[in-house]
């Protein structure tokens, strides 16, 4: 286990709340309502954010949008070198064919998680459109992937760690940047405990 020292809180509870409300509005605006709209969050953390966004959309539009959760363990491009410590169940309790699916994740980093999620998602059907919402974009993309909805852009260096904590799982809601003590590249580490970005 590598030790990290927290350098800064980039989003506190209130800022996360505002960012999610804005993203909810943007999703509705861009898609001109909620028709055929569905949210699919990537476990872990992305699924919680997707459920949260669905609540906000319901508050604004009065419509419940279907929500699913996606585990990408079997679609990762580094299965040969690293295994996810725990495989979670994928639950998409609705047909995604013809839907506009908004993929939801906490931190967008290399883009490899999203690449895996796109592959996983199309095995469940053929959405009309896939959009991407993330709470934080920390840069350092290794693939041609971008988010449609971003809570906050957080420029970071590769030896830093950007992590979302949520009230439901961690007892506090914040996005924190921490510095890896050893100074080795954080991005080279395998997907560790929930919330660690890839």
């Amino acid at each position: 286990m590598t030790d990290y020292t927290v350098k800064a809180v980039v989003l506190d509870e209130l800022a996360i709340d505002r960012a999610l409300t804005r993203i909810a509005h943007e999703i509705i605006e861009v898609n001109k309502g909620t028709e055929n709209l569905a949210l699919v969050g990537i476990v872990t953390r992305g699924d919680l954010l997707a459920a949260d966004l669905a609540k906000r959309i319901e508050k604004i539009e009065g419509v419940k949008v279907p929500v699913g959760r996606l585990d990408i363990s079997f679609y990762r491009d580094d299965v040969n070198t690293h295994l996810a410590p725990e495989v979670h169940r994928t639950e998409i309790p609705f047909k995604i064919d013809g839907c506009t699916v908004v993929l939801v994740d906490d931190v967008l980093f290399t883009g490899r998680t999203i690449r895996a999620a796109l592959d996983a998602l199309v095995d469940y059907g053929r959405p009309a459109r896939i959009e991407l919402a993330v709470l934080v974009d920390r840069g350092h993309r290794e693939l041609p992937i971008r988010a449609d909805f971003v809570g906050k852009n957080v420029p970071s260096s590769l030896d830093e760690h950007v992590r979302l904590y949520l009230e439901e799982t961690d007892g506090r809601s914040s996005v924190e940047i921490s510095q890896k003590r050893s100074g080795e590249r954080a991005g080279a580490a395998p997907l560790g405990q929930g919330g660690e970005e890839l």
Binding site: L83, A84, V87, Y124
Partner: protein, 311 residues
């Protein structure tokens, strides 16, 4: 990540390893219920099914599991392989090694054959049944089924009934049940009871009817006539009367108890048609779990192997 390189006997896996396989299999079972059942996970890996003894369901189950994970699965059977030309198992192992396969699944009529293979190759080895010794992947799918149906394995009483002496299914199930805190009881006529049932870690009994109301799982074994040199009981009919599950014994079972069988069933011997088709029977659930459990096993054994462990 599994602590053992190979699965030669069920004792190679710690209880934590076993539970990790069962937990991971839940997700694979979901995948098997989808329209698109193929995953890219083991793309480019080579899996050889070396079945030197006849098998349909286990070989098919492994082949489906490997293909659903996108591995290249090659089937080698006894009659088609060089073993009929007199090649030793060690030479077969070295030949397969030279072809750079990643995993060999072996079924062999002699106990210990998977171990010989393991000593002669770098690939990972899974024992798919060796003689009268063990059948560890059958055990994993049995444990999966018990856990899914009864909620847990710990504390459950499992009666394993029938041909204990010749059964590799019992050979791996008993120690695994003990390791996971369940209570196996082997129930058989004296002629089918091994001379040392205690090495299985199980209690023994000759009377099914005394124990039936206490069993959470009624695990019936196939009468393997092909492995019996002499008749261990006067007739199949007499065996069925004393140890077969029929409508009367179905009634005597504990509420919620389930019937399992590793297949193929001798209808009218271990199980009457009524018992085999009753709502208590979980025989097809076992087959269904088999593919998911073997996918989980391959994923956990072949994935992440270059790193050795996950941070």
């Amino acid at each position: 990540m599994i602590s053992s390189k190979n699965l030669l006997t069920i004792e190679d896996f710690t209880p934590e390893d076993i539970l990790q396989v069962l937990d991971t299999a839940v997700s694979f079972k979901d995948v098997n219920a989808r329209a698109i059942k193929k995953l890219p996970t083991l793309r480019g890996r080579t899996v050889i099914n070396l079945f030197l003894e006849p098998s349909t369901r286990t070989r098919t189950s492994f082949e489906i599991a490997a293909k659903r994970l996108s591995a290249d699965a090659i089937n080698m059977s006894g009659s088609a392989s060089a073993t009929v030309k007199g090649e030793s198992l060690a030479d077969t192992a070295e030949t397969l090694s030279a072809m750079n396969c990643d995993l060999v699944i072996i079924r062999h009529r002699y106990a210990g054959a998977p171990g010989i293979l393991a000593r002669h190759m770098d690939a990972r080895i899974i024992n798919a049944g060796d003689g009268k010794h063990q059948h560890p992947t059958q055990t994993l799918l049995d444990l999966y089924t018990i856990r899914e149906e009864l909620g847990s394995i710990e504390g459950k009483t499992v009666g394993i009934i029938g041909d204990i002496a010749h059964s590799r299914v019992a050979g791996s199930l008993c120690p695994a049940l003990v390791a996971l805190g369940a209570k196996p009881i082997v129930i058989a006529p004296p002629t089918l009871m091994p001379s040392r049932p205690d090495i299985l870690g199980a209690e023994k009994s000759y009377s099914l009817d005394d124990l039936l109301p206490d069993l959470d799982v009624v695990y019936t074994l196939r009468i393997q006539q092909e492995r019996m040199d002499e008749s261990p009981f006067p007739s199949l009919r007499e065996y069925a009367m004393l140890y077969g599950i029929d409508s009367k014994r179905l009634q005597a079972m504990k509420p919620g108890a389930i019937i399992m069988h590793p297949g193929p069933i001798n209808r009218g011997v271990e199980l009457s048609a009524e018992a085999a088709d009753s709502p208590r029977a979980r025989i097809l659930d076992q087959v269904n779990a088999g593919v998911a459990v073997r996918m989980a096993l391959m994923y956990l054994m072949l994935g992440g192997e270059q790193s050795g462990s996950v941070a």
